[in-house]
Amino acid sequence: MKIVVAIKQVGRLQDGFRLDEETLSIPARLLTQRMNEWDEYALEAGVKLAETGGGEVIAVTVGPKQAEEVLFTALAKGAARALRIEPDAALAGDPLEVARMLAAGIGPEKPDLVLCGVMAGDDQAGTVGTALAGALGLPVSTVVMSLAVKDGGLEVTRELEGGSVQRAALPLPAVLTIQTGTNEPRYASMRGIMQAKKKELRTVTAASLGYAPRPAELTPRLRKLFVPVRTKQTTYLSGPPPEVATKLLEVLKEKGVIA
């Protein structure tokens, strides 16, 4: 079984961090880079599956040279090889485009299973997994707590809101987004990481994979980055639902949110 795990390197905030409003970013020296927590669980699920059922795990990331650190970690934790896709810099923060870049790299591998984390701890968009499934034309199951391969297909349990759990079956190949706390991610020892440097790590640019960037006018731009000021402006609406809906509509119009 060929399993691809998509991994993101995310920055973790240190004490006393601040936003740089000119560059619309957080200064890099105030961040420590680490593997996205959700992806750790996705990786563990993939490695476990390969260990018990046979097969290989390929770790893929879209990111700068520094992101190779998480690939070495993934290789130390049991991935067989790794691929880094150097992104089109302007689009590196756009989850839909990241998904398309990933798809360009993952598609030719013809994987049986693609695993992602539910979301990334930095932007928390939770978009890449589903978008990747769309770009690859594969079925997707999100917020997966457990998975098993059965009769050539997948049986998964999904976490729903309010403590409900859904059991679902889907055919292979497929894309899953894995929830945290669903397994026990292994540790990558220093020696393991050193030895992992002997494994294959390929670097390609997104463009070389045939990825064509979305037209600039369709690309969302980050316009402002700020720490929201905490204010108390809560208004409670009560009454029967149709009445509340009407009141809400009025408030939204009044605040200029909708025309």
Binding site: Q14, D15, G16, T32, R34, K77, E184, P185, R186, Y187, A188, S189, M190, R191, G192, I193, M194
Partner: protein
């Protein structure tokens, strides 16, 4: 009265009353016994040869001559168990002399030598006669002790480990069987002598065989005639002889082997070896993945276990109800090794373990290995020189390489890798605590200092421990010590990283710290963190870093005794002092903190477990970074209970380790005694004692001693 006899006649017949055929049978039995013994020696040597070679320890080396003295004096047995030591000493020398007597007899009968008569014979008789009493006395004393069922001698396995009832039953039978066997051998020895003396009544022997003579008198008084004694002799001889041979034959297959193995083990092992762990071998799977990865000395030490249970009684993990008993770890390993490394015939070369089970995780459960705080109490108290700690850390190394460890410990390790500290703080903030001082602390990276203070993670970042750092800084400043710190150049010392089993990260830390220290100018290094102290002093030499390294209690004692600090306000409270395990057991600093307390005016009330026999707070070996939700009572809380039992009760619980400060500040709350017992770092007590207006008016709040 018999005629005076010549020296040649002063002897006895060796195979008295036995026919040639009987003697031949005895020799055949003796040869079989010796063959069995030789096979066991061969099997043992073959087994240990399949262990790994090279260094088993990373620093301290064995000292065979010192070990010989300790064996001869039964020193390690008598330590903290004087009566057991005395009984064993009697048994030990009694057995040794009786055994030597038997060997001398062999020289007389089976070699052309002829010396066993006259004066030699008389002294020989006297020596064996008297030492036999010691032998029996020691045996009886130890049997009585066993009969009172002391907890340490229990063969029960702690809850959480598989029961292994069959083994327990076998051990029980073995314990009593060997005692009984030796008792019967000793008693039949005297019976034989008594029968012979009753039959022959050689008056010249009376003074030289007092016990045997008394036995003869007793038999006579019981109505046994000389002829009757003569008739009973041969039967009794066979009983004594067969049982003696049986004991020799059983020796290698029962715990009686400790008579040989323990002397060897004490000779090849270094006391306190665990303070400097061995480095990893390049290109091999880390640690002890399978039984053949174990160092031959460790394989030998497992077989040396005599099941005295002292390690288990001392172990903080066992006391906290964790699934770890150091004794059972060693016994499980010994049992596994014996089964897996059973040798084939000598002409076939053995390869690999016959049973390739993974040792960490299968033979020894992961939870067992992670329960250990690496405090070293087991190895320190072991009378036969077993190093449990190094073996446990070696097995952890394998688990770490396989990525199998607690999530919180992983988090701490990643924090150390990324930020140089395990507390999740930014590396740049390491020196921030010095802002609480009204004088600058020199940066030892750029300025030459006398004392380079290695602050350590916990004192640098923990809010409570920072207060003790401030107190220490003020005291040093007052004493005019030119000291400096490394600010954000300092990274975690790696002592606990290494004991978690993350050797690769330890090597990285040690290398970078040694490099940094090598570029600084200083006379001595001082640290208040015993864990860092051990790394700096005992382990960094493996990475080329050798300096004079002091614990702050050593420096404080020195400053007070040199008159550089005067005690303006003696702290006349009653205190108890907790020895940090890394300070007393790893580095051997026991008296300096006591001298400091005495100089500061405090009245020291010791806990039962103190000095090298101290009890661990539970923070060692990575315990500081994780929870043990299964603990019945946490080790730190057990220790506070111990302190609360002192009468009259102490008002303060003095520590000299930042981890202790954190652990016990928490434990007094759990125990509900934070009002009665203050947890104080020794620098804080000294700061109060030297105060008298000399110190800034902002001593750490609520930490001063009440008089």
């Amino acid at each position: 009265m018999p005629d005076p006899i010549s020296a040649e006649q002063m002897t006895r017949q060796v195979f008295r009353g036995l026919s040639h055929a009987q003697v031949a049978v005895f020799y055949a039995a003796a040869f079989l016994t010796i063959a069995s013994l030789l096979w066991a020696v061969y099997a043992a040597v073959a087994k240990y040869r399949r262990g790994s070679q090279g260094q088993s320890e990373g620093g301290r080396r064995p000292d065979p001559w010192r070990a010989l003295a300790r064996v001869a004096g039964n020193v390690t047995i008598g330590r903290r168990h004087l009566l057991v030591g005395v009984a064993h000493f009697a048994l030990f020398w009694g057995f040794l002399v009786l055994f030597a007597g038997t060997c001398i007899l062999t020289l007389e009968t089976d070699t052309p030598l002829h010396f066993w008569y006259g004066r030699f014979y008389l002294w020989y008789s006297l020596a064996l006669d008297v030492l036999g009493v010691l032998f029996l006395g020691g045996l009886v004393a130890l049997a009585v002790r066993r009969a009172t069922r002391p907890r340490a001698l229990s063969e029960a396995r702690p809850a959480g480990l598989d029961a292994r009832e069959a083994r327990r039953a076998r051990f029980g039978a073995e314990n009593w069987g060997l005692l009984a066997l030796l008792l019967v051998i000793g008693i039949t020895g005297y019976l034989l002598e008594g029968l012979r003396l009753r039959a022959d009544q050689p008056a010249w022997e009376r003074a030289w065989s007092p016990v045997g003579w008394a036995a003869g008198r007793l038999l006579s008084a019981a109505g046994l005639s000389a002829a009757g004694a003569n008739d009973a002799y041969v039967g009794s001889w066979w009983l004594h002889g067969v049982l003696s041979l049986a004991f020799v034959a059983l020796l290698p297959y029962t715990k009686a082997r400790h008579m040989v193995l323990d002397a060897i083990n004490l000779g090849v092992s270094a006391p306190g070896a665990f303070a400097a762990l061995p480095r990893l071998k390049e290109g091999e799977k880390a640690g002890y993945p399978v039984i053949t990865s174990f160092h031959w000395k460790h394989l030998l030490s497992q077989d040396a276990c005599i099941r005295c249970g002292r390690c288990e009684a001392a172990c903080p993990a066992t006391a906290a109800g964790r699934p770890l008993s150091p004794k059972q770890v060693i016994l499980d390993l010994s049992e596994h090794a014996t089964a897996a490394l059973r040798p084939g015939p000598p002409w076939r070369k053995a390869t690999g373990p016959t049973e390739p089970r993974a040792v960490p995780g299968e033979v020894i459960a992961e939870d067992t290995l992670w329960s250990c705080t690496t405090c070293g109490s087991c190895a320190e108290t072991c009378p036969v020189g077993i190093d449990h700690v190094t073996q446990i850390v070696q097995m952890r190394r394998t688990l770490v390489e396989d990525g199998r460890l607690d999530r919180k410990v992983q988090e701490a390790l990643m924090g150390i890798f990324e930020q140089g500290n395990a507390l999740g703080e930014a590396s740049g903030a390491r020196g921030e605590w010095t802002r609480g001082l009204d004088f600058p602390v020199p940066d030892a990276r750029t300025e030459a200092v006398d004392v380079l203070w290695w602050v350590g993670d916990v004192m640098s970042f923990d809010r409570r421990a920072q207060q003790s750092a401030l107190a220490l800084a003020r005291v040093l400043h007052l004493a005019g010590v030119k000291f400096g710190i490394l600010y954000d150049g300092e990274r975690n010392d790696g002592n606990d990283v290494r004991r978690i089993g993350e050797e690769g990260l330890f090597e990285m830390l040690a290398t970078s710290n040694v490099e940094l220290l090598g570029a600084c100018r200083f006379e001595r290094i001082m640290t208040a963190d015993p864990h860092a102290l051990n790394a700096l002093k005992n382990e960094y030499p493996q990475f080329g870093g050798s300096w004079q390294v002091l614990h702050h209690t050593e420096l404080l004692a020195e400053l007070i005794e040199a008159g550089r600090l005067s005690i303006a306000a003696p702290q006349r409270g009653r205190v108890t002092y907790h020895d940090p395990c890394h300070l007393s057991r790893y580095v051997g600093v026991v008296q300096p903190p006591r001298r400091v307390l005495a100089a500061a005016g405090a009245e020291l009330a010791e806990m039962p477990r103190c000095g090298e026999n101290t009890f661990c707070c539970g923070a060692g070996g990575g315990g500081f970074y994780r929870e043990f939700p299964g603990d019945t009572t946490r080790p730190a809380v057990l220790r506070i209970h111990e302190a609360m039992e002192i009468r009259p009760a102490p008002q303060a619980f003095v520590v000299s380790c930042p981890m202790d400060l954190v652990m016990y500040s928490d434990a007094v709350k759990t125990a509900g005694v934070e009002k009665q017992l203050q947890v104080v770092e020794i620098s804080e007590l000294v700061a109060s004692a030297v105060a008298a207006g000399a110190l800034p008016a902002e001593p750490p709040p609520s930490r001063r001693m009440s008089a």
